[in-house]
Amino acid sequence: MSADLALIGPVLAAMLTAATPLLFAALGELVVEKSGVLNLGVEGMMLVGAVCGFAVTAQTGSSTAGFAIAALAGAGTAALFGVLTLLLLANQVATGLALTLFGVGLSALIGQGFVGIPIPDVPELNIPGLTDLPVIGKALFGQDAVVYLGLAMVPAVHWFLYGTRRGLILRAVGENHAAAHALGYKVIRIRFLAVLFGGAMSGIAGAYLSLDYTPMWAEGITAGRGWIALALVVFATWKPGRVLLGAWLFGGVTIAQLHVQGLGIDIPSQLLSMLPYLATVVVLVLISRDIARIRLNAPASLGKVFHPDA
């Protein structure tokens, strides 16, 4: 049992926590995109969720309330996007980018009074016996509830999309909104609900960062994770299970490159930081080679404006 083997447990635990915010944001965006809407404002919604969750937790001392408000705040920000793109038919790409810019500014404004304030820790799970297991105990049984909630969301989203009638309708709207409309489905309402869900998930992702991962508020605390989440959805070719794999890959490489440096192994850290993005590009190239495989999963109406009377 060398020192290197003893590192496996902590590395696994760190990887799971690093993957959690990506998982939430990417799953939310996946549902949004499956309904045919491209919301590039994930980063902005995460920031608003992060600051609102932090503010509430700092005031009330309850991280549960913090996460709930973060989900609401994320959904509220997403509602703005929904009104602009679905009701007023604004361009989705431009509106999504604007939403990110708006989120950066708004979160900084709200967060002004909350810089440098400490908040209580989110309690971690502790199952006597299991949590104390060697190597994997802490990683598998010693995390906080949000990590497990994130993991549970993967089968839940998969089941919703592929196992329920509502999921089928949502996918139908994303594939061909005109046909879905002709069948009598309320395209705009369905998309709006999907957008709200995506916002709530982004809000939780942001709050996980500000309440749990690094319990503090700082401007721009998400540091680009919203964009990684967007890349993850494509990387996963719109499959919830692959989103989980992708989140672990991104999280794992982030953690691994820090360990590699600490151990003094001579690999440029920039190269390792680059790897997940390189993997995304490779996946994009691979799936682009086979048009049929993209068609299979990519929502055909993604990003297209829907006029009900057309």
Binding site: A3, L7, P10, V11, A14, A18, T100, L101, V104, G105, A108, Q112, V115, G116, P118, D121, L209, Y213, T214, P215, M216, A218, E219, G220, I221, T222, A223, G224, R225, T254, I255, L258, H259, Q261, G262, L263, G264, I265, D266, P268, S269, Q270, S273
Partner: protein, 363 residues
Amino acid sequence: MNRRTMGKTLAGLAAGAAIMALGVGAAGAQEKLKVGFVYVGPVSDHGYSYQHDQGRLAVEKELGDKVTTTFVENVPEGADAERVIEQLATSGHKLIFTTSFGFMNPTLKVAQRHPDVKFEHATGYKRAANVATYSARFYEGRTVIGQIAGKMTKSNIIGYIGSFPIPEVISGINAFTIAMREVNPKAEVRVVWVNSWYDPGKEAEAAKALIDQGADVLSLHTDSPAAIQVAQERGLYVFGQSSDMTRFGPKAHLTAIVDDWRNYYVTRVKAALDGSWKSQDTWGGFKDKMLFLAPYNPSLSPEIVAAAEKTRTDIMEGKRHSFQGPVKDQSGKVVIAEGKQATDEQILKMDWYVEGVQGKVPK
């Protein structure tokens, strides 16, 4: 080589808004000297930009009847910076402090167009008749905390979180390591680069990775207090960076190297007022009050505090130098000979690790 460029692309909007706000403050007070400050981060960062703003407030307090000050925060390094500096120069500011490395070229460009305006650029190396430069010898503080770290570690592994492998950071690592090995030859430093000045998430991950590898004392050269929180949670020790970060980890935070621009700003504004201002290069340390140490943690033993204070005063009085020869690099080659000290140029261009640092400098 200071200061971040990342994540600031969006801040241009904020800068634009700030420019509009400037017009309001510019009215009235014709006879007072107008002094402008340009910050790369938000004043609320509780770190680098915050400390510069403390300097501005000191100027207001001391010379408030003779000067008015204006600041623009969140200014991205690049084209936006030039607009902001130009706006300050054309709106009657006669002395302008640009406080980040990336403002170097914009500052010089604007300075050329406004020979009657005086400029002060922090951490840069290009000067002109109306552009002075200033920076602090941050490495002097590293010598003191390195010594404390050498005495506090039990595992003999010190974790060091670096931002970018630039001379300013590397000379800090080296000064830290030299002082650490002097009191504890068995201790070694492990460095993790996060390639960012400010990414709390990544800094926390780096701290956890180093702790998992056995580090029991952390030092950082990044700007967020994330690593302080991690150390507090794990019950280990850490040194703050740029400003006093005690409240993020009252037990873990041993002390911090704090930038202090108050004295320098007041002196330079006074010089501008009485006409003695000249373009010059200032590189000050403890002696020049450009940095100081945050209060020592009460848990530090009196012996350790006394030794740290002695090191600090010795540096102030010139009895001790952070890079006193013989200094060996990782291969054991003597780079700074016995009896010699590193020259300023050697420190400003440092791109190698001393003995006791693990790993290689990223190229």
